[in-house]
Symmetry: D2
Subunit: 356 residues, 4 copies
C-alpha cells in the first residue's frame, strides 16, 4: 500500500481551515490526522467537517503535537504564534509548512531559519503561494530559458478588492502593514526572477489612506508604492492597494533586455465575456482564494512529495526573511518619508555614506 | 503646382455627405467641384458646408454632369439610381466610384460592368470599404504570404447595433434584404481571401425575425445564417444581425490548413478599459462609420490616386456582381427554405442533378 | 465516519485512466474499489497506480461487477461497449456514469435511456463535461437570469489541434464522424441554452478533408460546418475542425434579443503574455484535457454527491439521445449533400412536404 | 468663402515634416504658406512635397517670419531654438504651437510663458499630443464624470522600442534625459487627471543603462522608474524605457477611490490576431507616430480652430513648465540618488525640514 504523510494543522481560521480541507481531500499522498485551534467556533466546524473523516481535534497546540505519528505540521494560526510553533515543531522533528509571514519581525523570523538549519533533514517552508501558481511558473520557465534576456525591471502589484467593512483595519493591527503583509508576495517574486542573491541598494516608498482612515493609527496605508533598487542595475516597483473596485488584481511584469513577460496584466476569472449595451464586460477574481486556489493545492501536494521522497523544496526558507527585510524597509521608508540606503553587502548605511 | 482630380458627388444622404466631406477635406489630391441632390434639406446643408468652400451645388444629376472639368463621379444616392448614374457617368467618360450595391438586381449590376468594360481607360469601382481597412489588409497580406497555409473555412459576420426605431424596416424595403445589403461585405471578403475565381457549389440559409417583425413583409429577417460551399473544398459561413446590444460588431475568421487569422474577434473601439465593481468593461464601435471611417478615407485617396496616375484599382468591378449573386442566392435559400446547387461552372442545377 | 460511494471504473484507456485517478484522488466522497480492462498494458499501469492504493483489478467487466459493494460504475471503455455495459450495470442496480457517446447509433442509445427509466431510483448520466465547466455554468446562469433576453442564435465550435499522425483517422473509424463525436458537445450546449424541448426544423451541413485525406474512407471530414434550425425562430451554427494550429479552441456564442454571451472567444491557457519582437503572444490549451480538466473533476464530485444524497443530476440522460440524433442528421446531410427537414413533432419529412 | 488660417512651420525634421504635411493636407481650415529649415536635405524634400502645393520655402526663420500674412507658427526645429523662436513669434503677434519641450531648462521655458502672458490675445500651446488622443480623452471624460471616484494613484509609462543603433544616445545629448524627454508626457497626464494645481511633495527616482551604455556620459539611463508624491494624498509612478522588444508601449492607469481606468494596458495596433502553432499573437505600434498619428491630426485641427474662432485651448501653456519641473526633479533625483522634498507651496526644502 502507498505510504501517506501524516499531517497536522495548527489553526483553523480562514486559511487554516482551507489547509485542513486541502490535506484531507486534495492531497492524495497526505493523511490529515490532527488539527488544533483554541476557538470553540473552529472546533465546532471541525467536528462536522473533519472529525467525521477520522481527524482528531485539539484545542491546544502542545497536546496536538503529542498525537502519535505526526510527520508534518502546517502552521496557520495567528501570526505571533507562527515562529514559536514552527520552532517547536522543528525541534520535535516534524516537517513544517508555516504560513507567511514567519513573523512581522525580522529577527524572530531569522530564528525559524536557524532552527531549520540545525535540522537539515527536515523540510521547512513558508507559504509563498504564488511560487506554485501555473502562470508564474510558466513565466519563470520562460525567463529562466533566457527568452527575455536579462531581467532589469520588475513591476508587481497586490491589489485587494475594497470591502465595505473594517476588516483591513483590524487585519493591519496583527498582520503587519501593507508592504509587509501584501507586497511581501511581490518582493518574493522579485527575488525569484532577479535571483535570490540580489542585494538591495536603496528603498523608498510613499502611500496614502484614501478609503480607510482607520489604518493611520497603525502607520499603515491603503495605497502604497515603493521602489527597491538592487545592486547590479536591477530595480523593482511595487504597488499595494486595499480598494480595488473590480476585484483581486495581482499582477506582475518582468522586463528584460530582450523581452517582457506579464502575469495577469489582462485579468479574467473565467472565459465568459458579456456583450451588453454598455460594452463588453468580463469579471475577475474577487479574492486571493479565487485567484490562487489551484496554487494552494499544488503547494500542499509538492510539500507532501518533498517530505515523503526527500526531494528539495522549490525555494529556500531564508528567502522569506530576505523578503520580510525588504518589506520592512519599504514600511520604514513609508513611515519616515526617507529613502533608505544599503551598501554592497546589504548593510544599512547613512545617505551621506552612500555611493551615489 | 500639383494636379488635383476634379470630383463630383451625386447624393448627399448619410454616406454621400460623408463622401463629399472626404473629397473636400481629407483627400489631398482631389478637389471637390460639384455635388447634386434633389432634396432641399441636403442642399441646405451643402450651402453651409460645401458651397462656402467653392463647391457648386445642383439639384439634378444631369445638370451636375455638365459642370465643366469633372473627371470623376462618386455615386452615392438612392440604390435604384446607382446603376443608371454609373452607366451615364461612364458613357460621359468619367471615372466612377459607385456605392454598394451597384443594384439589388444581378442583371442590372452586370450592365455597369459591361459599360465599364467598353471603357477600359476609366477607373470604375464599387465601395467595398472593408477592402481598405488596415486590419483586413494586414490579415490579407499575411494570408497572401502563406502564413496560414491554404484558406479552407471562412467565417464572417456583419452585426449592427439594435436601434429602437423602424429604421432597419424602411431600409430593408430599398436596400435589399440582409444577405444582399449586409452580408455582401462578408461575401466580398470571402472571395478576396479564397480567390476571386472561386465557384459556388451550394448555398443554404435560414433566418428569423427576433426583434423586427416588420421585416417579414419584405421577406427579410433580423438574424440570418448561411453556408456557401465552393468547389475545391472551401466553405464560408456568414452571419448577419440587426440587433446586437453592444454595438457594430463586424468580425471575420480565416481558417487555413496551417493557421488562422481573426479580424476584430476581440473588438474594442479605443484603448480604454474601465475597471468597475461589476467587472472590466470596454466599449466598441456603435456604427459602421465608427468602425470603418479610416477605411473610407483610404478609399477616397486610393481611388483618386488610381485615376490621376492610371494605377490599377485594388479589386475588380466584376467582383461586386459575383458577391451580389451569392447574396441573392442566400436570400433565395432563406425565403424558399431550400438548398441551392450549382455545377462546376457556377450554373444553377436541380438537386437531382447535383453530384453529391 | 463519512460514508463514501463505492465506485468501479470500466476501461482504462485515455479517459478511463483519468476517471480512475479522479475517483481515487480527487473525489473526496468516493472510494474507488475496482477497475477492469482487458488490456495487459492497462493492467500493468493499474498495478502501480491503483492497486497500491487498495483498488482491485479485473480483466473482465462481468467479474468486476461481482466485486462486493459496488454502488456506481463509470463506463469508459470502447464505444461499442458503452451501451451494453451501461444496461448491465443498471440492471445490476448500480448508478452509472457513461462516457459519451452512449452509442454512435440512436436506437442503441435509446436502449440505455429505456433501461434507466425502468430504474428511476438510479442515477444514470452521460459525460457531457462542458456542462460542468465553470465558464459555461457562469454563462448559463446569466442567460437563465434573462441577462441577454431570449436566445436566438447559437454558434459553437469544437476545434482540435492538428496532430502530425493518423490518430484522427483511426479515431473516426470507431467514434463516429466529426459531427457525432465532436459537435455533439456543441449540440448538447445548444439544447441547454435553447431549452431541452427544442425541436429541430431543418439541418444542413458541408465539409471537407483539408489535411487528413484518410478520413474520406469513413465518410468523415476534418472541417465541417452545419446549421440546425429549430422550430420557434432559433438556429444554431456549428463548426468542427481537426487541424487548428494553435491548440484546442472550443468556443461558444449565445446571441439573445438583448445581449450576447461568449465562452472562450478570447482564449488563453494561463495568465502569461509574452512581449517579444514579433508581437504579444499568449498560449492556449493544447488538448481537451488542458481545457476541461477542472470540469471533469467537478463532474465526478457532482455525480458522487447525486448518488449519495439522492439529488437530481444536472441534466437528463435523454438529452444525450437528442444530441446524438442531431449530430447524426448533420452527418447525413454532410454525406448526402442534402438538407433535411422535420415537422413540428420532430419527425423527418420530405422537402416537398416541408412548410417553408 | 471659408477663411483659412495661414500657417508657417519652422523645422522640417522628423516631427516638423509631419506637422507640415498635416497643415498642408489634413487640417481643412488651415493653409500652409511657408516653411523654413537650414538643412539642404530638408529643403530638397520640401521642394517636391510642399513647394508644388504653393508653399514658400525658406532657409532662415527670420526671413520666413517676414512672409506676408502668417497668422500662426509651428515651432518644430531643434530644442534649443524652441524658446527663442516661440518668443520671437509671439512678439511678432503670431499664434504659436511649439513642440515639446519648450526647453530642457525650466527658466527658459518660463520665459515663453511670460511672453505669452503679455499677449493674451494669442494662442500659445505646446505639443502634448496625448492630450488629443481619443483614448485619453475618453478616459478623462469618464474620470471627470466621477466614474472612478477621486483619483489617488497614477501609473504611466513611455516605453520605446529598442533600436539597434545609437539613435537614443545622440538624442539624449540634445533632448534632455529620459524623464525630461519621455516621462514628461506621463507627468503632463498626471497633472491633467490629478488637477493642474497639484503640488509636488517629494520626488525619487532610480534607473540603469541596460542596453545603451553610451547614455551614461549624459547622466541618462535607458530604464528609469520614479515616484512623485503630491500634497493631498496623491501619488504617481512613472516608468520610462528605451528597450522594449515588442514596440512602442505607452500605457497609463488611473486608480480612483471607486474604480480604475486603463489606457493601452492591453495594447494592439489593429484588430488582427494571428493563431499559429506557438500561440495567438497580435502586433502593437512600433513608434510613437504609429500610436499617436490621429492625435497629432486632431491637435493641428483644434489648434487651428482655437486660433480662427478665438476658442480656449484645451490646456494651459504653464502646465508645460510644471511638467518640465517635475521631470527635471526626477532627473536630479536619479543622478544624485537622493529623494527631493518640497513644501506645501511647491518650494524645494531640505530633508531635515520636511514634515514627514
Amino acid at each position: 500500500m502507498v505510504r501517506k504523510l501524516k499531517v497536522a494543522v495548527s489553526g483553523l481560521g480562514r486559511m487554516g481551515a482551507r489547509h485542513a480541507i486541502n490535506y484531507l481531500e486534495r492531497t492524495p499522498r497526505a493523511k490529515l490526522v490532527a488539527v488544533c485551534d483554541p476557538s470553540p467556533t473552529a472546533i465546532e466546524w471541525a467536528k462536522t467537517r473533519l472529525e467525521t473523516s477520522g481527524v482528531t481535534l485539539y484545542t491546544s497546540f502542545d497536546e496536538m503535537m503529542a498525537h502519535p505519528g505526526i510527520e508534518a505540521v502546517i502552521i496557520a494560526g495567528i501570526t505571533t504564534e507562527h515562529a514559536p510553533q514552527s520552532i517547536a515543531a522543528i525541534k520535535a522533528g516534524k516537517h513544517v509548512l508555516c504560513e507567511k509571514p514567519l513573523s512581522t519581525d525580522v529577527d524572530i523570523s531569522q530564528g525559524v531559519v536557524e532552527a531549520a538549519k540545525q535540522n537539515p533533514q527536515l523540510k521547512v517552508m513558508t507559504g509563498f503561494s504564488r511560487r506554485f501558481d501555473q502562470s508564474y511558473r510558466n513565466a519563470w520557465a520562460k525567463a529562466d530559458a533566457g527568452e527575455i534576456g536579462r531581467p532589469v525591471v520588475f513591476r508587481s502589484q497586490t491589489c485587494d478588492k475594497y470591502r465595505d467593512d473594517d476588516y483591513f483595519i483590524g487585519y493591519s493591527k496583527v498582520s503587519g502593514s501593507i508592504f509587509v503583509d501584501a507586497s511581501v508576495h511581490d518582493i518574493d517574486l522579485a527575488l525569484w526572477f532577479f535571483g535570490q542573491d540580489s542585494i538591495v541598494k536603496s528603498v523608498s516608498a510613499v502611500g496614502t489612506c484614501a478609503r480607510y482612515q482607520g489604518l493611520k493609527q497603525y502607520g499603515d496605508v491603503d495605497n502604497g508604492v515603493g521602489i527597491v533598487e538592487f545592486w547590479g542595475g536591477k530595480m523593482a516597483c511595487f504597488y499595494a492597494c486595499r480598494m480595488m473596485a473590480v476585484g483581486q488584481h495581482d499582477m506582475t511584469e518582468v522586463i528584460g533586455t530582450h523581452g517582457k513577460l506579464t502575469i495577469n496584466a489582462n485579468p479574467t476569472h473565467d472565459l465568459v465575456e458579456h456583450h451588453e449595451s454598455t460594452g463588453i464586460r468580463r469579471e475577475i477574481a474577487q479574492t486571493y482564494w479565487d485567484r490562487f486556489e489551484p496554487a494552494f493545492i499544488r503547494e500542499s501536494n509538492e510539500f507532501t512529495e518533498a517530505c515523503l521522497d526527500d526531494k528539495p523544496l522549490p525555494f529556500k526558507l531564508a528567502g522569506a526573511v530576505q523578503a520580510l527585510k525588504i518589506g520592512s524597509a519599504l514600511q520604514e521608508s513609508l513611515r519616515s518619508g526617507r529613502k533608505l540606503f544599503f551598501d554592497e553587502t546589504g548593510a544599512r548605511i547613512n545617505e551621506s555614506m552612500a555611493k551615489l
